[in-house]
């Protein structure tokens, strides 16, 4: 191979050696391969990828982990006090039953498990939903996921059911000395009148360069209600591409809260289609970017029906040389009247070198709509800082108080009290620059 230290399409495909797909059927697989063959890695000229320095990723050559389920019991797994969740664990993109705990589901018609297993157990549901969004064609990485992802989570709620406990999906990477490519493929199907809450969290078991390429499709049927909290606390050497597609039907509600705390490059692509009337979607997130972090949030909310509402609130702090992007587009289709859309992005720059690209956009083709968007980027209010210091509060604590308040606006929106308290505790420590080893992420802490 000519280009040994650089990731190319060819060596990416060669990793899989033309193997069959583990999850996709041959048709989906074939189309995904075709997409890869016909397209290049996104680059600075690709729309929506201008600010994501993909070279950070492609300068590494990745390998894939051997095809084995993780049989070791992970000591001190990532733990949130009082969360009381159904736990499903993946290590290097493969389901690890020994570390999971999915017995306690109240309703036997509900499925929570690995997609490989779910596909066998619910073939019709799988067929009806899997890969029916256009997520495969988002970019080479999502296509690669469709072509070769081996495993991921599958959650299925039949009509009129409810998951009382949160489903906590933990993605660990552990590649001691290998630069591993990890792919997770998730599918969530919530039928009519269902309710669920998911927490996904990303962690590293060793200091490795890993590329975590996750694709998730969520289908919310009429009057279903789903909440999703995303906790990104992988090690400093982690690259994470998180591609999430939500498809909502009439009267359904979706809410996400994305906490991005570490990783060399984290890119979240979030597409929400409001297909039916009276859908509501609330997309919230916060990020604490520092060092050389690149954290990107790309959001697209498509209002395709009347009487829908979407709200976005993303806030973050950017320190050192970190770069953050927030690109969000709200599209309101012709004749989709009485839609209400709000986008807000607020950033605080903590260094002269930190950068923010913030672009909330509206594309509206209906006339009876109410839309508001705003973006602010500034520094910590020096007058306020001085005011706090004149009361005896050190500069560091004063900054913490102000930043804590700034970020809190996003965290208070989380309903799950255990997770919310955990985040408050975590960001307080993180903002004070106190060591929080073992707390926010297993073994590797996002702040140390």
């Amino acid at each position: 191979m000519s280009n040994h230290n650089k990731l190319t399409k060819e060596n990416l495909l060669a990793l899989y050696n033309d193997s069959k797909s583990y999850i996709s059927d041959s048709e989906s697989h074939k189309k995904a391969i075709e997409f890869i063959n016909n397209n290049d890695f996104p680059n600075s000229k690709t729309e929506d990828w201008k600010n994501t320095d993909i070279k950070k990723i492609t300068k590494h050559n990745f390998t894939i982990y051997n095809n084995q389920s993780y049989k070791d019991k992970i000591n001190d797994t990532f733990y949130i006090y009082d969360l009381n969740a159904i736990q499903i664990v993946f290590v290097n993109g493969r389901f690890s039953p020994i570390n999971s705990n999915i017995e306690e589901i109240n309703n036997s018609n509900i499925f929570v498990g690995s997609i490989k297993e779910g596909k066998e157990k619910h073939p019709n549901i799988f067929k009806k939903y899997y890969n029916t969004t256009d997520i495969t064609n988002a970019n080479i990485f999502s296509a690669l996921n469709t072509a070769y992802a081996e495993d991921g989570a599958f959650i299925y709620l039949p009509k009129n059911t409810e998951l009382e406990k949160t489903v906590h999906i933990l993605y660990y990477s552990d590649g001691a000395d290998t630069k591993g490519l990890i792919q997770n493929r998730n599918l969530v199907v919530a039928e009519e009148n269902t309710k669920l809450e998911i927490l996904t969290s990303y962690h590293a078991l060793s200091y490795d360069t890993v590329l975590n390429n996750t694709v998730t499709e969520i289908f919310l049927e009429e009057n279903s209600n789903a909440k999703m909290n995303i906790f990104q606390g992988e090690g400093e050497g982690a690259f994470q591409l998180n591609n999430l597609h939500i498809s909502q039907q009439k009267g359904s509600t979706f809410e996400s809260n994305t906490a991005t705390l570490c990783g060399e490059l984290v890119r979240n692509d979030l597409v929400v289609n409001l297909n039916g009337e009276y859908c509501q979607t609330n997309l919230n997130g916060f990020y604490l970017a520092e060092k050389e972090h690149i954290f990107d949030n790309f959001i697209k909310v498509n209002h395709l029906s009347a009487n829908c509402q979407s709200n976005q609130l993303y806030k973050g702090t950017i320190d050192n040389n970190a770069i953050v992007s927030f690109f969000s587009k709200v599209y309101v289709a012709p004749d989709s009247q009485k839609n209400d859309a709000n986008q807000s992005n607020k950033n605080i720059l903590l260094s002269d070198y930190a950068k923010v690209y913030s672009m909330p956009q509206l594309e509206i083709y209906a006339d009876d709509v109410s839309c508001a968007h705003g973006s602010t980027t500034g520094q910590l209010d020096k007058e306020a800082l001085f005011y706090l210091r004149t009361r005896g509060i050190s500069e560091r604590i004063a900054k913490t108080l102000m930043l804590y308040a700034f970020i809190s606006d996003v965290i208070v929106k989380i309903e799950n009290k255990a997770y919310k308290d955990f985040l408050f505790f975590l960001i307080n420590r993180r903002l004070k620059q106190e060591k929080i080893e073992g707390l926010c992420s297993h073994k590797i802490c996002p702040s140390c």
Partner: protein
Amino acid sequence: MLKITNLKAEIEGKEILTGINLEIKAGEVHAIMGPNGSGKSTLASVLAGRDIYNVTGGEIEFKGKNLLDLSPEERSREGIFLAFQYPVEIPGVSITNFMRAAVDEHRKHKGLKPMSAGEFLKFMKEKKALVELEAKLEGRAVNQGFSGGEKKKNEVFQMAMLEPTLSVLDETDSGLDIDALKIVANGVNKLKSKDTASIVITHYQRLLDFIVPDFVHVLYNGKIVKSGGKELALELEEKGYEEIKKEADKK
């Protein structure tokens, strides 16, 4: 307690304080008056350690220490308190959390253990009563959406919480209705002792009826151009600054 000698300060190359001399002893109340823009708030800010002002000359000695060597937070812990002319709004930071952090730091500085949550709330309640601060303010963010008068009361409340040895009240009376003025003045008087001192910056004799000064100084063009007893304030109220200005401009 405080000794200011020939203090000069500038901002953006413009000299604002042009040589201030002032000595304050424990137990004393000094009123500083003077026309708008004469440098009263600048003096207060320099005492509190605001770094946008560049001290170009002179000295400030506070309880034997060189005040200019200390950061704003260290000055506060040493016992200086500034009630702002324009208190700053701090979105999202609750008064309780804010005061908790401040009191903790003050106690740490004195070698005391942090108060328990219960003790702290009790302490806060006492001090609130002192300035008749409405209960509903405490759950709110610092100064955010407060009326002008509420902001001023909140300053005196903070002063009560931190028990300073030298308090600098910068136009704490402005924006207060007559009842609030009495409450605030009462609060300040209750905190007065033989070991503490205050500088009261004001435009009006009215406040000085309640907080009776031992000395009154007139600041003009960055200098103290006249000092006297409490009767000087009455004289100013009657005559205004014209004569003093003329006199000073002659020199």
